[in-house]
């Protein structure tokens, strides 16, 4: 086993993902010298943190051959509920309890649908996303959103430790745990076993149900936590704030070299994937082209990258 993780083919994929980050960063600097400034880099790192934190659970889900599409409205619902209930309760730590409650609930609902009821995760999690959207709308109609965001959330999203953004430090801590979990814990082994051959995993006594629950809960907890961070970042929680976070985390996972069919890959690559996605977006903004053109170019590049990686998977 190599240091970067597992078989040489997946090591190569991870290296390729980091080469792509460097390439995209080179382009960014070529387009605008501003990208050499620490303040710009800092901004990109914070943006990448949001995608990277979601990509932890998404990497787990893709590794076991599933996908989680309930991210956007988990973000929004968690942000609205946590800020509101914390403001009402008069204690900012209530927000974190609400984040955990939303994450665990959504994760369990996804586990029940995908593992117990055997509905395809694509269908189930997308439906759960709609369900959460409905709940958020009903809630907003009844209770006006607060403008008071917990100070701790603001510090996590905007604060600095020395010259490092606090958000990035949080990402690296959780990311480090994710990498270790996949490498050295029985949990990680079980994930690769399930992704490789679910029937053989079942027959080997792997706790398949428990692993599904942990995977979907970590994905939902990541999204719920990012919801609170985003409300700290923009000092408010609002409907639709999670809408832009459906595909970028999945793109990050795939660019990071994890096989979409599962069983191969890891979180080290997803970090590079998150950075790539964020830098690409920033380059397109810096090119000063219209928003529509930006999205078209972004979509085309993602398609190209996905094609590149899916082809390598064959």
């Amino acid at each position: 086993m190599s240091l970067i993780g597992g078989r040489s083919s997946s090591t190569n994929r991870v290296l390729l993902a980091y080469l792509i980050v460097l390439l995209v960063y080179g382009c960014a600097v070529g387009v605008n010298r501003e990208f050499l400034a620490w303040s710009t880099i800092r901004l990109q790192l914070v943006q990448a943190t949001f995608i990277g934190l979601i990509a932890i659970g998404e990497t787990f889900a893709v590794l076991i051959g599933q996908i989680d599409l309930s991210v956007p409205w988990t973000i929004t619902l968690s942000a609205i509920l946590s800020t509101n209930l914390a403001a009402m309760g008069g204690n900012q730590w209530i927000a974190f309890l609400v984040v955990i409650a939303v994450g665990v609930t959504v994760g369990l609902v996804n586990t029940i649908g995908v593992f117990v009821l055997r509905v395809h995760s694509l269908i189930w999690t997308l439906s759960v996303n709609l369900l959460l959207q409905g709940i958020a709308l009903v809630y907003i109609n009844a209770v006006a959103p607060t403008t008071h965001v917990p100070a701790a959330a603001q510090f996590l999203a905007l604060g600095n430790v020395g010259f490092m953004p606090m958000a990035f430090i949080v990402w690296m801590i959780f990311g480090g745990f994710a990498i270790l979990a996949l490498r050295v814990l029985p949990f990680g082994r079980s994930i690769y076993a399930i992704g490789n051959r679910p029937t053989a995993a079942l027959l080997s006594g792997v706790p398949v149900g428990r692993i599904h629950a942990i995977v979907f809960m970590s994905s939902a907890l990541g999204s719920a936590f990012v919801g609170l961070l985003l409300s700290g970042y923009s000092s408010q929680a609002y409907l639709g704030m999670g809408t832009d976070y459906l595909l970028p985390p999945i793109a990050a996972v795939i660019i990071g070299g994890t096989r979409l069919a599962g069983g191969e890959g890891g979180y080290v690559g997803s970090i590079a994937g998150a950075l790539t996605v964020v830098l690409l977006e920033a380059v397109l903004v810096a090119l000063n082209i219209s928003e529509g053109a930006q999205q078209m170019v972004f979509g085309a590049i993602l398609l190209f990258l996905a094609f590149l990686f899916l082809k390598r998977g064959r």
Partner: protein, 461 residues
Amino acid sequence: MKLLAGIEQPDEGAISVNGGAVLIPNPRAALSAGIAIVHQELSLFPSLGVTENIMIGQEPRRGRFWIDKVAMRKRARDLLDSLGATDIDTSSTVGDLPLAQAQLVEIAKALSTDPSVLILDEPTSALSITEVEHLLSVIDRLRKRGASIVFISHRFSEIERIADRVTILRSGEKAGEFRPGTFNRDEALALMLGETWRKELSTRSAEAFTGDAEATVLQVDDLTLVPHFADIDFKLRRGEILGFTGLEGQGQKELLFAIFGLFRKGLHGKITVGGDHLLPRHPRESISAGIALIPDDRKTLGGFLNLSISENIAITVLESLRSALIINRRAEADLVDGYIRRLSIKCTSSAVSLGSLSGGNQQKVVVAKWLARKAPVYMFCDPTRGVDAGARAELFAVIRELAASGSAILFYSTDLSEFAQLCNRVLVFRDGRVSGTLDGPEIVEQNILDLSFKEAVHDAA
């Protein structure tokens, strides 16, 4: 069979139809070469109608795009009538038909391409005796119309009834041939068993169980799973190797899988392991009761082809390899290297993927992962499938060693010659029930076949 169907490609040699050499790169090419196959597992679409199934892929057209439903229905009707199946309604859904009728639909489908050669792969395996008789008369009728037919069967009575010329295949080689009218059961049996088996048998005959007759590890009472097996009773003792034999597909495999907890619903009866009752609904229940299963398909059930040897072996004992939370790499390497040496698994390192090994070595890895559990009960389900003779001998040595060290073994194989080499006792299965027990030296293929064919033998007499 698969070569003729275009599913697999020959390494060498040629196929000729009507005197002309043909290449069959895919199933479509087989059809256009005039070869039609009725597979053992029916290849029908259960939710489509009889007509649609028979005519699939060659629907008559009206104009360029429209399917001519009237012509299609008429053609299907004609084909069924030619088989004497006038009672099958062309508009009924295939999933609603009884198996014997579905089989006739399958044959009609095969005939719809007007093939030069019709191949029937064990078409009678799922049919009752009257249904078999009807099917054989259909085949007779086709023959009289000048069709060339290959009929594959394990059952001598059917071969005697229907075949002009008989070829006996054994382990992928032609073992012998009978000209018209010369078929003889005893000779055929000798050819099926083969010389090598005779030699092995002469050096090693089955030994009766000599251990403690009271030390029951696994007891099964009245175990039933409709429609696979019914009223199964047996006791398995420490150090004993008990074989489940009989023809293929008589419920032996399902019984092993049921004991391993792979059937969530419909299992009735009593299983007792080490004094505890259990009716497992999940493999983890069986595993924690001390049962290990080496399944028949190592590629989809037994192992993880893309994971390393090390990851494959350690998967069953991850919890016990932990120090604190983390998997202890040193302990894992020691364990894995130990089994690689003990089973002489041929590999460059324990980090190479399972898929890069030969079939025999892959199977040894699958066995090793369960040896690591040190289970009181081991169930081997056709462990030598696709394994070369050398690795097979090594596997047998491992199984004997396991029994000698006090584990109890259940063994099922599709190769009847293996039971005499390995087992202390065998249960012969027919139609999901035990039709007889053979002990020690009684485990001879002739006896196994007698018990498996009981009905067929009466039938012929």
